[in-house]
Amino acid sequence: MIDYHALAPELLLAGTVLAVLTVDLLRVEKYWVAVVGLFGLFLSFIPVLTLGFCDTLTFCEDTGTRFLFGESYAVDSFSLVLKALFLGSAFVAVLLSVGYLESDRFWQGEFYFLMLSSVLGAVVMASSRDLVTIFVALELVTGPTFLMAGWRKGDPRSNEAMLKFFIIGVLSAALLLFGMSLVYGTTGELTFAGIRAEAAGIRGGDLEALFTVGVLFTLLGFAFKVSAVPFHFWTPDTYEGSPTPVTAYLSVVSKTAGFVGLLAICYLAFRDATFLWGPALWVLAAASMTVGNLAALRQTNIVRLLGYSSIAQGGFILVPFGAAVAAGVTDVQLEEAFFATVTYLLIYAFMNLGAFAVIIAGGNRLRSAEIGDWAGMFGYAPGLATMLAVFFFSLAGIPPLAGWFAKFVMFRAVLSVGGGWAAALAIIAAVNSVIAFVYYAKVVKSAFMDPAPEHVAVADLARMPTVPSLQFALVLTVAGVIVLGIFPGIIAEIGELTKTFASGF
């Protein structure tokens, strides 16, 4: 018998996707499509809560981790936390899109359909516990985003963003799949639990070489998805060419989904192969931080700057993985690393979505993404400039904004492992935090201190309102960044729940 309560979030979201498609066919104002979508996201959030607080509810039978379809699909505290994150981020992303899509000539109905389908993929991803499910979920996340990236159909730059993204995305899918097929071929198992059990016997055997190649190809596929250096070259172009709400979505939901897949596959399937993925991810983490931050220093376009910044942030998220490079890393240390990654992902979603919300609001007024044009924003839009400062300083990791706690747990996880390699990674991360602060602060300084450029009509801009949906999104993210920064205990509590996942079945 299928446990429908455990599947309720996915089922409700799938229903919403169909409802959005149907509403789009009716003769109604197009914003109703967005309203239905937002309502559906809210609706599917409810079962996530009831499942999460199952032990305190009378009608819910608390059965611990719920496994469905054999061991292919698991609903545990980790997947519930991530599902809540995906649904919440998608809610904000839809809010960001509403005003933006109405401001220009866009096909709106299909946009929300595609975005919600992609979110459905992310939600499924959080629960996937076998290779095929995780692959289908990953494709469901990325497939619609290819089209969303090219939503400005008449704009050649958007076309280019779409085509580059598509080719790299499909290439990475093929690499991932090839790795998975080799892992399946050598272990004979598709479920993560099965692979973990079989992998122990492979070590030192005839099939070890093939298995190693399989693991590395799988990591390679995910490295493209989370745009880790040196597999990042599509990121800045796609981020710049896509409509900005889509960029926000790509940099938060799609990227987090990639990290969730990586977490599940590394900590469950390849748990006993840390000697394989530890060094590989160590290199990726160090390269992503360094290259991302150094490239971001030179950017003059604010969207491109955030693109490189998100590559660098991806590097910071990878750091706890890389810490597993040390031989004989204990289970407790791995749990700490896992906790650090999840915490970083949760906080990253808030601050990056917020930063993009500010950029969309500013871009609506200025019609420009050049940092030079943003100078003097404090003069005519003090609220917006202040929020810009809040999000950018949070991304830089300045207390008391949420970003500092993310960085703090990240460093704690690395240092708890100890040893030369982990210490080296910690030093690289520390240097990069300083570099990152320089370019974040440069933008904020320009907005606060510099005079507005002459071609910017300050008086007109001061009167321009921010769209209500965008205001709502800004309030949500600002509140999140400040509250979580002052009371990091909340996020630590949530992260703590997910640790049980890393401790194994």
Binding site: L147, P156, G185, G188, D237
Partner: protein
């Protein structure tokens, strides 16, 4: 000499390499899509060969999913080509150089 699973694996690996090379070297978007299909189908071959060697059905089951995902990707790809065609009247990737990077 019998044909063992290793041969199929090797064939799949060769096909995968040819596909990857085609994707990276060819500049016509349609040809690139064909290369992608080649890569995905070589993976299918690996799945089927491994499943048969191990005597389980999961390999063949995975192929169904991979095929459907591949079809969906090709559809998205064709849609993208149409969109690019309309603005450019070319399917050559080299001419898409508007963005730095």
């Amino acid at each position: 000499m019998t044909v063992t699973a290793g041969w199929y694996m090797a064939l799949a690996a060769s096909l995968f390499t040819i596909g990857a090379a085609g994707l990276l070297l060819r500049r016509n978007a349609l040809v690139m899509f064909m290369s992608i299909e080649l890569m995905l189908n070589s993976v299918n071959l690996t799945f089927v060969a491994a499943g048969r060697e191990l005597g389980v059905l999961e390999g063949q089951l995975s192929v169904l999913f991979v095929m459907v995902v591949a079809a969906a990707e090709v559809t998205v790809g064709l849609a993208i080509i149409v969109a690019v065609f309309r603005n450019r009247a070319t399917a050559s990737v080299d001419e898409l150089t508007g963005l730095r990077g």
